[in-house]
């Protein structure tokens, strides 16, 4: 389903003062498209996800999904969060069944479907494990299965692999691409990793920081499977890094100047610049 944001602005109150996190953002994600939102920490990319998910409301502008305005959360627009956000009291199977259970799918049917999706993310052996027994990568697989089992028209991923090590991240990126090519949901994927964005997406939106607005939108017309050494891919990466360089400098200046603290500005980026060109 097509996702459209038109002139969306959003402010939060911070220390009693309004703080604009999104300023006049317009973007479109076509049906079945894989789009990455790329930007520095605190640029409001998570806010965009929350708005589309219906977890938050825009101050101005309109958000439509398949032509219908978003009014609240809906299982056709599921979010996968950076921290898997699994329910610790449910087994892996229970977690994947959760959305179906809420939707009133009968027990036998939902179990069969949950098992099918757990197989898709290679977790058939861990069906009866509990979240606390899983590694970070496995938890994220469960979170993806838990979202996909609802067969959402739109899959929203909020830095889903940012907390994982480089190898696990690469494996999960490939699996996500495979799943996407199989079921073709519309994917909106938030990341602060340039290589991740260009490696995955059909199109990349570069978001500036504070307040977030679209700095650049580019189609990555490189056929899949993509290789890191692909010159066209590298050209895209260089251009994006150039744009982001200015942005990152802006962030640093602001932080050193101690003007304001942003609720979203978490310094959570792992310090492996060399591995993934984090910003």
């Amino acid at each position: 389903m097509q996702v459209q944001l038109e002139h969306v602005s959003k402010s939060f109150r911070h220390n009693g003062r309004p703080l604009e996190v999104l300023h006049d953002v317009s973007l479109t994600v076509e049906d079945g498209e894989f789009v990455c939102l790329l930007g520095p920490s605190g640029c409001g990319k998570s806010t965009i996800i929350n708005l589309i998910a219906g977890l938050d409301r825009a101050d101005t502008g309109q958000i439509t999904v398949g032509g219908t305005p978003v009014t609240g959360p809906d299982p056709s627009r599921v979010v996968v969060f950076q921290e898997a956000a699994l329910f610790p009291w449910l087994s892996v199977l229970g977690n994947v069944e959760f959305g179906l259970r809420v939707a009133g799918v009968p027990a036998v049917k939902r179990r069969a479907r949950a098992l099918e999706y757990l197989k898709l993310v290679h977790l058939s052996k861990f069906v009866h494990a509990y979240p606390h027994q899983l590694s970070g990568g496995m938890k994220q697989r469960v979170a993806i299965a838990r979202a996909l089992v609802l067969q959402p028209a739109i899959l929203l991923l909020d830095e889903p692999f940012a907390a994982l090590d480089a190898q696990t991240r690469a494996v999960l990126q490939n699996e996500l691409l495979e799943i996407w090519q199989l079921a073709r949901p519309t994917i909106l994927f938030v990341t602060h990793n340039v290589r991740e964005a260009t490696g995955l997406a059909d199109r990349v939106y570069v978001i500036s920081s504070r307040p977030g607005c679209i700095r650049d939108a580019r189609a990555i017309e490189v056929p899949r499977p993509r290789h890191a050494e692909d010159p066209l891919l590298q050209a895209h990466q260089h251009k994006i890094l150039g744009i982001l360089g200015e942005e990152v400098e802006k962030v640093f200046r602001e932080e050193l100047g101690e003007t304001v603290h942003y609720p979203e500005a978490q310094h959570d980026a792992p310090s492996d610049h060399a591995k993934g060109m984090h910003i």
Binding site: N50, V78, V79, A85, W89, F98, A147
Partner: protein
């Protein structure tokens, strides 16, 4: 035997240590060796306790205490969890009545006995009422807190998957509150056990508390110590073997350890 040992001295969570038990016995015996007025644990107090267990009258008292605790604690669970859920669910009720629960919890169990006796007379009901008032407050407070403090990320994840209303409450909010509820129930056991003893001491209901009175009046220090040892042992064993273990398992599963 090896199995009993593992139950009493578990490895996974801290409960009893054999060294601690040995130290306790040693210190007790040292006291007995120094002072002739202090009875020996191994030669006097434990045999008395053993004898008590053969005494049908004593067993009747023990059964009476156990029955009152069972009834009282069941009602504490019902009132505490039920009340906590209602308070957690209805913010207005919480604002009006929440501080009452805290206030009730602030009054020690023993302080409820006179009121219970005024209302129910020297009866079993008075003791049970004391247990409820002595222990339900903490369960209400903890359940209420657990219900209102569902981690925001869990809330958002549940909502994006379509959970709302009754489903959201029973499938997300209540399970998310379980660690708090279990913590409250564990404390309530200790408070309830104390309230039971206070209630039985001050009413003439046949139970362990009343026997404390009797042996003290008869000036039998050895019998009094045997009873107190039993009361302490029941308290620590139920807490350690049931509640602490439950709490430990819940905390592990909920990822809190």
């Amino acid at each position: 035997m090896g199995r009993l040992w593992r139950v009493l001295f578990p490895k996974g969570y801290s409960f009893l240590r054999p060294e601690a038990v040995a130290l306790f016995v040693a210190l007790w015996e040292l006291g007995a060796w120094c002072s002739p007025a202090w009875p020996s644990l191994l030669r006097q107090v434990l045999p008395i306790l053993w004898g008590d267990f053969q005494d049908p009258q004593f067993m009747q008292a023990l059964a009476g205490s156990a029955r009152r605790m069972l009834i009282g604690y069941s009602l504490v669970m019902l009132v505490g969890v039920g009340g906590g859920i209602i308070l957690g669910r209805l913010p207005l009720v919480d604002q009006l009545l929440g501080s009452f629960a805290v206030a009730v919890h602030a009054i020690p169990g023993a302080a409820w006995v006179p009121l219970s006796v005024m209302w129910f007379g020297m009866t079993e009901q008075a003791v049970i009422f004391t247990i409820i008032l002595g222990a339900a407050g903490i369960v209400i407070v903890e359940t209420d807190t657990g219900i209102r403090e569902v981690p925001p990320l869990i809330q958002r994840a549940a909502r994006t998957m379509g959970a709302r209303g009754v489903n959201y409450f029973w499938l997300v909010v209540v399970p998310a509150a379980i660690p708090k509820i279990v913590g409250g129930l564990r404390l309530a056991w200790a408070f309830g056990w104390r309230a039971l003893m206070a209630g039985e001491l001050l009413t003439s209901v046949n139970g362990l508390g009343q026997r404390l009175n009797q042996v003290a009046k008869a000036q039998r220090l050895d019998q009094l110590l045997a009873l107190m040892l039993l009361i302490a042992a029941v308290g620590i064993l139920v807490d350690g073997l049931l509640f602490k273990r439950l709490e430990h398992e819940v905390r592990v599963r909920w990822g809190l350890v």
